[in-house]
């Protein structure tokens, strides 16, 4: 768990972070979003003390990070940056092994861990273990960057716009992989981005920052349906609001469980905008749904996309934004 209590950071006369308080729960995927200069990266870099806080307290699992040695603190966290920052004179293997090496893991364990991570990030260990960073594409480099950050099984992963320099296709596949890794490992992730689609797609919760202050911290659905300020509304954007709205819920949330229908089924975790696309593509208004183990989990109707059949928790329109 990460706690910020009235944390302030000034650079000269400029207040980059202004009395910010929030909590990130164990295992949560928290996205920090905001325009440039909003203080989101500063917040991230205060968590591993790359930037020291001027006022307030930052606690990890109840422990004030100011009481820890910065190097020890950082070795317990993964850190991924936009420009990757792989060590160009080290092989992929040695790059990934950096923190385990610092922690003094035995050689065999490091080796196995490197293999495991390369497979996790869809890089063939035999081919890439001995490669040098300049021999890799941008997407592969960031895969290694993520693997390196995960190497010592950190409880917390800090990511500063890790995918924003990548092409859309590579970015999408890395987002999918990161979601899967998060589900599998239960690592607490703090993820900085300026891309609302990425935030809606990845975050369990989204913290919106502006001028060093925390404007809103809520679930993607809440951000979409009840934006707390004009800035949040602008970040969400009015274009394709409905599709974004669909994207934050899954087929499993809306399927009618008792029904069944024939056809190629959709997985329950498929986002709803994909289901809509699938219906248009197949020319049908009903799709069968299966759960994670491939067992039938009901049927999704076209009308369920517009309005939840059983009256879900969420409101159905952008009432607060007034764009319906």
């Amino acid at each position: 768990m990460i706690e910020f209590e009235r944390v302030t950071k000034r650079f000269g006369s400029w207040t980059a972070v202004d009395s910010v308080s929030f909590t990130v729960a164990e295992g949560e995927f928290r996205v920090l979003i905001g325009p440039s200069g909003s203080g989101k990266s500063t917040v991230l870099r205060m968590i591993n003390r790359l930037i020291p806080a001027d006022e307030g307290a930052i606690r990890i699992d109840g422990e004030d990070i100011a009481s820890l040695k910065p190097e020890e603190l950082r070795r317990r966290m993964g850190y991924v940056i936009q420009s990757v920052g792989l060590f160009p004179h080290w092989t992929v293997e040695r790059n990934i092994a950096t923190v385990p090496g610092l922690l003094g893991w035995p050689k065999a364990r490091i080796r196995d861990r490197v293999t495991e991570l390369l497979e996790l990030l869809n890089l063939d260990p035999r081919r890439y273990r001995g490669a040098y960073p300049h021999q890799l594409s941008g997407g592969q480099q960031q895969r290694v960057g993520v693997a390196r950050a995960l190497a010592a099984e950190p409880r917390v992963l800090l990511m500063d716009e890790p995918f924003s320099a990548l092409d859309p296709i590579t970015r999408a596949s890395l987002q999918t992989e990161l979601s899967a890794i998060h589900r599998r490992t239960g690592t607490t992730i703090v993820f900085v981005t300026h891309d609302m689609d990425e935030a809606l797609r990845l975050g369990d919760s989204i913290a919106v920052m502006d001028h060093g202050r925390l404007v809103q911290c809520a679930t993607p659905l809440e951000i979409l349906t009840h934006p707390a300020s004009p800035l949040v509304r602008d970040l969400v954007g009015r274009e394709e609001w409905g599709l974004k709205r669909l994207a934050v819920e899954t087929v499993g949330d809306r399927a009618r469980r008792q029904e069944s229908v024939t056809g190629e089924p959709l997985a329950a975790e498929t986002p709803l905008h994909r289901a809509l696309s699938e219906m248009v593509a197949r020319g049908t208004e009903r799709l069968p749904v299966v759960d994670g183990d491939g067992r039938p989990a009901g049927v999704l109707h076209l009308s369920d996309l517009v309005r939840p059949a059983s009256g879900g928790a969420a409101s159905s329109g952008p009432a607060a934004s007034g764009t319906a």
Binding site: N48, L50, P70, E71, E72, L73, R74, R75, Y79, I81, S83, V84, G85, L86, F87, P88, H89, T98, V99, L102, Y132, P133, H134, Q135, G145, R148, A149, L158
Partner: protein
């Protein structure tokens, strides 16, 4: 004129023309009854007629066709071989000529290289160097070619084939002095290099970290570089002599090796300090940030990230320093520091050009050897890193 010879290599053409002109119009060797008299010219043409002439004729003919060879691996390889063998062949022919001229002449008679030899030897080497560059030969490949040429000359030296040449007669008279001079020369360079590195590396690190240090240090070092070496040696004489008078028995004096080492150190500092700072400046900041973010201590960041990534640029500074120091150490002979410069100046003052050569050639060889070895080091330090910004020093 559509069916004229296809010209592929302008450099080789220029060199082939130089060879042709030198062979026809310039004296190959000079033969004098003793070392003080000027010699009569010995042309190349008659010398080519004997069996020894084949060593020059064969590669020479290839060299004349080199401008028209296609720039393939085979064509460029042949050009390199022809250029190298042509030069070593000239040495061989000169040795043979000198031996035959020595027959029936007095022991004081001298056979020296003349302008034709120098022009042709230089043209042969330049053709080979240019072809090696066109072939994209790496540091190791260039060293292998250079080593082969040097080896062929060394074999001729060792076999005694060149003993009749004037420069080797000068050597025979000064065998022990020569060995001492080479050792002394190398010692001067190393003795200057140690304080240079001890002071220069920390100064370079400081200039990289604190801008004010760089602003203070670089103008001073730049000014030192512009002071002519003889003037700097001279400037150091007075204070050191005064210091020596103050501390009798300390061995400090205004002449000899000490002012030479101090002056060499002052000259050597600029490339070392500058390239240390530039190399560190060139380490990409994301790499450094990632290293810190993963929990490397400042010391570990410096040793594991900064140092290896700055190494290629640092080594190219070291290369400049060493090559420069080898040359400058020759001038240090003027203030009594000894070394190969002493032999050169002895020759200059005695108007014995071969004695000058006996001092100058090893200086050149030392510089070339240091340059080649450090080039290999730079290539080894660079090849893993790929392309880094700020690789080349200003």
């Amino acid at each position: 004129m559509t069916d004229r010879l296809p010209l592929h290599n302008r450099v080789a053409l220029l060199m082939a023309l130089a060879v042709a002109v030198a062979a026809l119009a310039l004296p190959f060797l000079g033969f004098a009854p003793n070392r003080l008299l000027s010699g009569r010219p010995v042309p190349l043409w008659p010398a080519l007629q004997g069996l020894d002439g084949v060593a020059v004729l064969l590669p020479g003919l290839v060299l004349l066709t080199a401008p028209f060879l296609r720039p393939t691996r085979a064509g460029l390889g042949l050009t390199i071989a022809a250029g190298g063998l042509f030069t070593t062949g000239l040495v061989w022919l000169a040795g043979a000529q000198a031996a035959s001229l020595a027959q029936g002449a007095s022991a004081a008679a001298r056979t020296s290289f003349a302008s034709g030899f120098w022009v042709m030897a230089a043209a042969g080497l330049l053709t080979a160097i240019d072809a090696a560059r066109r072939l994209g030969l790496g540091a190791v490949g260039r060293l292998a070619v250079g080593g082969a040429v040097a080896g062929l000359v060394a074999l001729q030296l060792a076999s005694g084939h060149l003993d009749a040449l004037s420069i080797l007669k000068e050597y025979a008279n000064r065998r022990e002095v020569f060995a001492d001079a080479v050792l002394r020369h190398a010692t001067l360079v190393v003795a200057a290099l140690i304080p240079t590195l001890l002071v220069g590396i920390p100064l370079g690190v400081a200039a990289h970290r604190v801008q004010a240090v760089g602003r203070a240090v670089f103008p001073v070092l730049n000014v030192v570089q512009t002071v002519p070496s003889i003037a700097l040696f001279g400037l150091l004489m007075a204070p050191l002599a005064a210091l020596g008078a103050l501390l009798p028995g300390s061995g400090i004096s205004g002449v000899g090796p000490l002012p030479a080492v101090i002056a060499l150190t002052l000259y050597s500092l600029l490339p070392i300090v500058r390239n240390t700072a530039v190399g560190l400046d060139g380490v990409p900041s994301p790499v450094r940030e990632a290293a810190r973010g993963m929990g490397l201590t400042p010391r570990q960041v410096f040793l594991r990230v900064d140092l290896p990534l700055a190494l290629p640029v640092f080594l190219s500074g070291l290369r400049i320093t060493v090559v420069q120091a080898v040359g400058l150490a020759a001038v240090a002979a003027l203030i009594g520091a000894g070394g190969l410069g002493a032999i050169m100046f002895q020759g200059l003052f005695a108007n014995a050009l071969d004695l000058v050569l006996l001092g100058a050639v090893p200086v050149i060889l030392l510089a070339v050897a240091a340059d080649a070895l450090l080039s290999i080091g730079i290539a080894a330090a660079t090849h893993r890193i790929g392309v880094l910004p700020g690789r080349s020093a200003p």
